[in-house]
């Protein structure tokens, strides 16, 4: 499944962060797996930690500032990785079985799969049976910066509503 989460849909959570995506999406029902949050400032203090060590990276924003992307995960279930990169002339993302991939735009805009136009702080999550392959292309404006987040499951993981 693809989940296109527009910037306006992210949830403000405690400590001034935006929750971009989480699994489970409805808290306190299924076992907690992971969440992805954006802190407006790159220097924001680390939020409360659950199991596992948060992984974070700074993502350049359109106004020249940087935000911090932080991924928290249950270490027994998920190993998270973040890579920040420019879209340049385009690139491919291959997803493994047992992997959830999230792409978040920091600045500029990018086109995913030739049809989803992603702008600043829009996110695309891929999970489940399809797709395993994603083509990212540049938008019409200046080069886009994106964070590519991989959530590698120790067993089968997915995004849980």
């Amino acid at each position: 499944m693809r989940l296109v989460l527009r910037a306006g849909s992210h949830r403000e959570v405690a400590d001034g962060a935006l929750e971009v995506a989480a699994s489970p999406d409805t808290p306190r029902r299924e076992r907690w797996q992971w969440d992805i949050r954006v802190f407006e400032a790159a220097t924001a203090p680390n939020g409360s930690q659950r199991k596992g060590v948060p992984v974070s990276a700074n993502l350049g924003r359109g106004d020249g500032s940087a935000s911090r992307i932080e991924v928290r995960a249950d270490a027994e279930l998920v190993r998270p990785e973040i890579q920040v990169r420019s879209v340049g002339t385009g690139f491919d993302v291959k997803r493994e079985l047992q992997e959830v991939v999230a792409v978040i735009v920091g600045s500029g805009s990018a086109l995913a799969e030739g049809r989803h136009r992603l702008r600043e702080l829009d996110a695309l999550i891929l999970e489940g049976d399809d797709p395993y392959f994603l083509r990212m292309e540049p938008g019409p404006d200046f080069d886009a910066t994106v964070a590519v987040i991989r959530l590698k499951g120790t067993g089968s993981i997915g995004w849980v509503p």
């Binding site: 499944m1 693809r2 989940l3 296109v4 989460l5 527009r6 306006g8 849909s9 949830r11 999406d25 409805t26 029902r29 989803h116 999970e127 489940g128 049976d129 399809d130 797709p131 997915g158 995004w159 849980v160 509503p161």
Partner: protein
């Protein structure tokens, strides 16, 4: 609890005539009627005098007269005549609701009237566009509006509940793209190289197609489903197109009005097609109506320790519930800040 600051369909245009009509929506009774110039009036259906329903009264020109002691109200809900005395009490007023009639549906705003003007009613122009034809239904479902929202956001139910008409395995075999914005959730399913649904095959004669449907939920009151079929490899815009409008208006906590319009851009003016669609889609709606009534019943007796088990396909459902909850909470907070109870 209902989201009040939003436009909801309260009736189809042809239901409202120069006679009082009662309709319950968002837990409140509303009396509707058409003025002599054709305009629509919507008032709180409770006389200010002693609470008799105004819908049980009669029209006097464009005014409505209570059937109990004859208080007469104008279209703005202001009492203009008290038969038993000269003086009209200041508080003899009933609430008048903003209404907009557009494309054969009548929309009402039950919340803060001052907020209504800034919000346009959703676009439903397919109802009157001469390049399209349509069949419509109006139903009162015996289930909450939320269950109808869930139903429309997860169309895999077509494969099971509507097996004989609009559903087959292509629906659940193909993945979805769920898109979420501040106040809309859409669920798109692309089904390449498959059979059209049985109803579509009957209606178009095609047997192998690329097929799709996209539900766009304009929260809280309208689902617009764009669907269609095209010969394999063709472009969506060149196909046989459908726009299915589903305006969902809570009546009470466990009943909801369902205004349905199945619009198509092919076989326009074909009366035999209209008859076929009118009847088969009526059956489809009955299947939903019956299923949701059963679901409602089971949900009401379900222990709290057994919440829904949602799967990835329910992404649209989960996201919409969250947005609905957030909007409800925001309205409750606003009312509390203003010192009024929700």
């Amino acid at each position: 609890m209902f989201i009040k600051n939003a436009w909801y369909v309260i009736a189809s245009s042809d239901e409202i005539v120069h006679e009082p009509m009662k309709r319950t929506i968002l837990g409140d009774d509303v009396v509707l009627y058409r003025k002599l110039d054709g305009g629509v009036v919507a008032l709180d259906d409770r006389c200010a005098h002693r609470a008799y329903p105004l819908s049980a009264g009669r029209l006097v020109g464009d005014n409505i007269q209570c059937g109990y002691h004859g208080f007469e109200y104008n279209c703005a809900g202001i009492c203009v005549r008290v038969p038993a005395q000269e003086r009209i009490p200041e508080r003899a007023v009933v609430q008048a609701f903003p209404v907009v009639e557009a494309h054969r549906w009548v929309w009402i705003w039950m919340g803060d009237p001052e907020k209504a003007a800034a919000v346009p009613v959703p676009d439903t122009h397919w109802m009157t566009d001469p390049a399209w034809d349509r069949v419509t239904h109006t139903r009162l479902f015996h289930s909450s509006a939320d269950l109808i929202h869930d139903n429309l956001l997860d169309l895999t139910h077509e494969s099971f509940l509507h097996q004989s008409t609009i559903g087959d395995e292509a629906v659940y075999e193909n993945g979805i793209t769920v898109e979420v914005d501040a106040q809309t959730v859409s669920v798109d399913r692309w089904m390449p190289g498959c059979h059209p649904s049985p109803l579509f095959e009957k209606a178009t004669g095609l047997t192998l197609v690329d097929r799709w449907h996209t539900t766009e939920f304009q929260i809280p009151s309208l689902h617009v489903i764009h669907a269609g079929v095209v010969e394999p490899g063709g472009r969506r815009e060149d196909g046989h197109l459908l726009t299915v409008l589903n305006a969902i208006t809570p009546a009470t906590e466990n009943t909801a009005w369902y205004f349905y319009a199945f619009c198509r851009d092919f076989a326009v003016g074909d009366e035999a097609m209209n008859e076929l669609l009118q009847q088969s889609l009526g059956e489809v709606l009955t299947e939903d109506e019956d299923a949701l009534a059963l679901q409602q019943e089971r949900m009401e007796t379900r222990p709290a320790r057994l919440p829904d088990v949602l799967i990835a396909q329910d992404a649209g459902v989960a996201k919409a519930r969250r947005i609905l909850a957030r909007m409800l909470a925001a309205e409750a907070k606003e009312l509390a800040n203003a010192g009024r109870l929700p």
